[in-house]
Structures are given as C-alpha cells and as structure tokens.
Symmetry: C2
Amino acid sequence: MPISSASTDAYRGVDDLRPAVEAGLIAACNFGDGCPTRLADAMRYAVLAPGKRLRPLLVLMAAEACGGMLGNLTDSAIAEVMPGAVAVEMIHAYSLIHDDLPAMDDDDLRRGRPTVHIEFDEAIAILAGDALQAEAFAQIANHVRDPQRAIEATRILAKAAGAAHLVGGQADDLMAETDPMGVKGRTVLGSSPEGGESSAALLASLQSIHRRKTGALFSASLDLGAVLSGASEEARASLGRYAEHLGLAFQVTDDNLDYTADTDTLGKRAGKDADRGKLTYPGLLGIEASREKARELIEASKREALFFADSAERLLWLADYVLERTN
Amino acid sequence: MPISSASTDAYRGVDDLRPAVEAGLIAACNFGDGCPTRLADAMRYAVLAPGKRLRPLLVLMAAEACGGMLGNLTDSAIAEVMPGAVAVEMIHAYSLIHDDLPAMDDDDLRRGRPTVHIEFDEAIAILAGDALQAEAFAQIANHVRDPQRAIEATRILAKAAGAAHLVGGQADDLMAETDPMGVKGRTVLGSSPEGGESSAALLASLQSIHRRKTGALFSASLDLGAVLSGASEEARASLGRYAEHLGLAFQVTDDNLDYTADTDTLGKRAGKDADRGKLTYPGLLGIEASREKARELIEASKREALFFADSAERLLWLADYVLERTN
C-alpha cells in the first residue's frame, strides 16, 4: 500500500527554502579579481540559470530532517549547510555544461535556454565547467567552520563527483550509446533486447549508469546536509537509502518524460534520447513498466524516510514530486 | 651578483626523490570499481605519462626544506605530504588534457605522445580531466590525517585550480590569442607592440596570465608541502615568494624554448605559439631580453630560498635547472 505523504499540506513544497538557496548561490558566484569577466559570466549563466535546485534543496531538507526542524530551519542551521548546498549545485551545473558539449551529448538547449557552449563558446564552456568544479571544493574548504565536518564533506563530494560515480556514469552512458555491447568492457546485450537474460543484464547496466550519474549526487546532497548539520550515523544511513531509490526514480521519470513529453513542456528537445538509440528505461521496458518501476522506487524511498518520523513530511512530499513532475 | 648554488653537487638533482613520487602516483591511479576501464586508462595515460613531475617534486622539496631534512626525508615525512604531491600532479594532468582539446589549444602531441583526445577520443578526454580534478581533492580528503591540514590543503588547491588562477589564466590566454585588444575586457594593446606604454600593458597582461596559469600551481605545490609538513608561517611566506618568481621564470623559459628549440628536443611541435600569433615573452621582448628576464626572475627566486639556509640547496638547484633546461 502506498505510503501517504504529509497529513497536512504544509510541507508539500519547498518554496520556503528556496530564497535561502538562491541567495546562497548568488553570494557564491563571486569568483575573485583574477577571474576573466567572460568566464565569470559563463559560470553565473550556468549556476544561476532557472532550475529546480533539487540538489541544494536536498542539502537543506536533510539538515531539516536530521535536526528535527521541519519548517523551522534557523538561519544559523542554514548557514552551516549552505556551503554544501552551493557546492553540489556547482558540481551539477559543471556536469551539465560538459555533458552538453558537442563531443558529449551535443545539446544546444538546456532548461529552455541556449547551452553554455552555444551562448558563449566551446572553450569557455569547458573552462567554466572546470572552474565550477574547483569552486565547489573551495566553497566547502572556505566556508565550513568545523575542520572535521569540512573534510568529511569534501570526501563525500569528491567521491560523488569522481571517476567511479558522476563522471564514470557519464562515460558509460556515452559508451553504451555508441556501443551497447561493450559497457564497462563486458557484453551486456545478448541477441536482442527482448531476450530474458540479456535484457536483465542491459537493465542492470542501465541502472548502474543511472545510479552513478544521477544517484551519486542525490545521495551526496542528502549526506552533505546530514554531515554538515552534525547528524547521527543512523540518520545518515537512512537518508542514504532514501536517496538511492529517489535518485534512480528521478532518472527513470526523466527517461519517461523524454519519451512522452513535448519540447515546450520539457525545456529541452523531447525524444532526443530515443532518436539516437540511447539506453532508456521506457525504451527497454516499455513506457507502462517504466512508470511502474518509478512508482516502486518512490515507495521504497518513502519507507526509508519514515525513520525521521514527524520530520519526514517534506522528504515524503519530494518523493511524490519526483514521481509526478512534468519537467 | 648571481647567487651560487650548492657548495657540493649532492643536491643538484631530484633523482633521489623521484621513486617516491612515481610510486605515489601509481598507487593513486586506482579509481574504484565503478570507474569504466576506458576512463581509467585515459586517466592513467595522462597522469603516468613520462614527465618532469616538477609539481609533486616541489611538494617534497618544500617538506624537505621546511623540515630541515635535506637529503633525509623520512618515509613518514614523505607519506605526510604525498597526497598533496599526487593531487597537484592530477590537477596538472587534467589541465593539460583540457588545454590540448580541439576547442582549446588543439594540440595532438604532448611529451612526444599523442594527446588524450587523439589516443582515446574527445569525450573521454573531457571526462578524464573532470574525473582527475575530483580525484585530486579526494586524495587530500582521504589521505591527509590531520583535518586542519587537510582542509588548508584543500583551500590551497581549490584556489590555485580555480576561476581566478589556473582556469582564469587559461581563459585569458585563449582570449588574448583571438583578441589581444580585449584581455580581461581592458585594452592592453595600443597602436603597436613597439609602443612604450602599450607594450608595458601587454607585458603586464602576459605576466598576469602566466602568473595565474603556471605560477599558481607552482606556488600551491610548495605551499602544500609546507602546510602538510606543518611548516611555520614565515617558511610558507618565503616559499611563496620563491615560487612566484620561479613559476613565472618557468613560463618565460617555456616561451623561449618554443621560440628556439626544434620539435624533437621539445617533445611537442616547436614554433606553434609563434605560428598562431600567441602572446609570448620572446615575441614581445625579443629573445635576448626574454632570456635576461628569465635570469632576473631566477635570481629573485634564489634570494628567497636563502631563508632556508643549509636546507636551501635543492631549491637553489631547481632555480638553475628551470633556467637551463632544454625541454
């Protein structure tokens, strides 16, 4: 039976948390005297683009849940985790800039606006991404007061952004696109996608890609919120499992949206994944089974959120939101 | 009068320090189960390429000078600073991969071997660079034991690698190439490079680029060695000034080498900078004045090294080496 969300509608949203995130991002987009204007412009264009801010919001939501402060995050509690919130958004923004490059996914539209290499140029796009990654680590090193928490946060972020997670997932995703037989050097596709075992292997491979590409940074966001707010190990572990399911569900719904939505609703060119034969959930399972997959993952994530009892409401809402979103 | 180097020849070299650096780099090039083989291969290809290892050696040399351990760095003293040594080499390797990309400097040869995007492909080159930057921060976060030193090291590395330094310098370098009138949005070139004031402005601009592009990581390397080995503030400051002069000298001699050397000696295509009208010291000052500039910078760096008295010998040798190197 589906877990019902908040008993009231008070935390069916994150609008009360948004202003702090936006203010934090704007304040962080000051890159120093030696930063060329055009580079800073490109970095701001990417970071301050209209966006869901899902990852920084996750940082705040984790702090809220772990601190038992539902709807009552204090300014000092926000300040404590804000370097983590800004850092994950910078990592996310950099990864989008690089993913959109001609040598990668070759997208010219992102959130309804020209991508960075279209609005600026390819060199600036590469460099803006590079600089945003460094700035993400600088945010934590410069603005987290407790050294022990700062270094744990750096560890979390570096792992999630690294070769075995964010970047590795993207690399496998690209390689699967051009060579679905050879993801990670293993044969994942047998005779046809319809065949039982080969289809299962392909699904496992797709899941592994999504878990690293999207899930790792989702999990890192919640873990950063927990660590920077001084949460218990139990709270970190529950959030970790919540995040794992949620992150994968987010990617499945993303695939489903691309499969069914039109370009206007989506803010990027719809159906592009299918056009180029990219490995997707609806492509592999069919759209109905793919939607069911998303529902299952969301239920699993909500079960983990219950650890936080009365403070779980916004985590439950988010799970519903990920399932129901249209863009 | 030039400062004479070591009274003995014992520290006219770094061969005794190399094995530790190579072992540290090899040990660090293990990127975890989730890292696709091809991505790991590209990262190793870049990091373990034959190279001068100048930056990691600087980390060790700083620890040696600050610890008064000339020629006697203990295994535990090496282990203490090795995460910093590995991290700077990873940042350096990533920046070379990205600088060589078609949208950037478009080089197909590096240290006599095909560049990463030639040997692998462009997408893997972008991703290998991205992952190496994350791994650099992971090295420090995971392997420096003292949290206070770890976070200071992260701060140093993130600043040097960031928008106002390494990346900003490269961005200005690229923009100067295509638009020498508009570096940093200011007009730096008047009527001709021969004109007094405009030539001075162009030189200032070139110096600013090199200071950020090369100097920042040189300085960071020495500072990392100092911080990770627990050096005094005075020692850090002296090393900082030594590094600033040395880093700029390195870039001047690099320009001079490109201007005069042939492709075989250099391991990259000689004269390429001049071909594309890139801003260089010999191009701006003439080769003789540019060589004199390098000599002056080296003397200035050697004066700072004298702070370390008996432990300065290897720092003095390095200064001479930078001046005299042929590749």
